[in-house]
Amino acid sequence: MIANWPAALGGGILIGLAATLLLWTNGRIAGISGIVDGVLRPRLGDALWRIAFLAGLVVAAGLCILFVPGAPQPRTDFPRAMLVVAGLLVGFGTRLGNGCTSGHGVCGLGRLSPRSLAAVLTFVATAMATTYVVRHLLP
């Protein structure tokens, strides 16, 4: 399958600009898992910007997916038990490792952080290994 690369590239640039906007105005790293974490452990004066960022993300993305013609649609038929296991691992791992694809990937690599580069190489490697096992080794 040939990807829709102009949309992918354009979407990526928008994500980079969004991260830049947050750093420029709030001085914060746009790491989704870290921002969510801060909402679940709210501290005075530190929760409102996080809630605003997440609300903007959820609502804007939802509107685009639902109403922009040709917008990529989410998958619907994945086994529910696998989604739950995957969600637990993603939530646990991103907190233990202090970041996900946005914090370590988009922002950390942009800052040339060696920690983030190590994290990105690690999670891409284990993700590829997991996908290989699930798709090609398991019956």
């Binding site: 990807a3 829709n4 992918a8 590239l9 354009g10 979407g11 990526g12 640039i13 928008l14 994500i15 980079g16 830049t20 906007l21 750093l23 420029w24 105005t25 001085g27 914060r28 790491g31 989704i32 898992s33 969510v36 974490d37 801060g38 679940l40 996080r50 605003a52 903007g56 993300l57 959820v58 993305a61 939802g62 685009c64 997916i65 990529p72 989410p74 994945f78 696998m82 995957a86 969600g87 637990l88 691992l89 939530g91 791992g93 907190r95 490792g97 996900c100 914090g103 988009v106 690599l109 942009g110 800052r111 999670f123 284990t126 590829m128 997991t130 290989y132 699930v134 798709r135 090609h136």
Partner: protein, 151 residues
Amino acid sequence: MNRAVLSALASGALFGVGLAISGMTDARRVLGFLDVAGEFDPTLLFVLGGAVVTTLVAFRLVLARAHPLFADAFRLPASRRIDAPLVAGAAVFGIGWGLAGYCPGPALAGLGAGSVEALWFVPAMLTGLLIQRALAGRPGTAPGDEKPPAA
């Protein structure tokens, strides 16, 4: 609402639009990238490439300023050590990502569209986060949570 919060709202909205048009909200494309032995789908490379080239240039310009527009200081991760929790956490996250094809951002984006898979994945993700916090029993040090370096 003050200007900082409004800016965070705008940034989140821009992030969401980027995710939605990039194709990352479709986990099939993510798994297509991760499945190097299958029919390789390079979409994710274009997304990450576009985002990182942008931050590489723009972060440099922003961080040359004395402070952010609407805050006292930049809150950047202070640690530069590559330690065991970092690598172990990234490894566990990667396994979950490779299983279903969702990382936190696209999962939240799907939630906004009422995606049935996001409705299963996101609560599990929040539970995993809380389990890690409970086991660690320490205050968080998420990227950006650290105190700004002393001037």
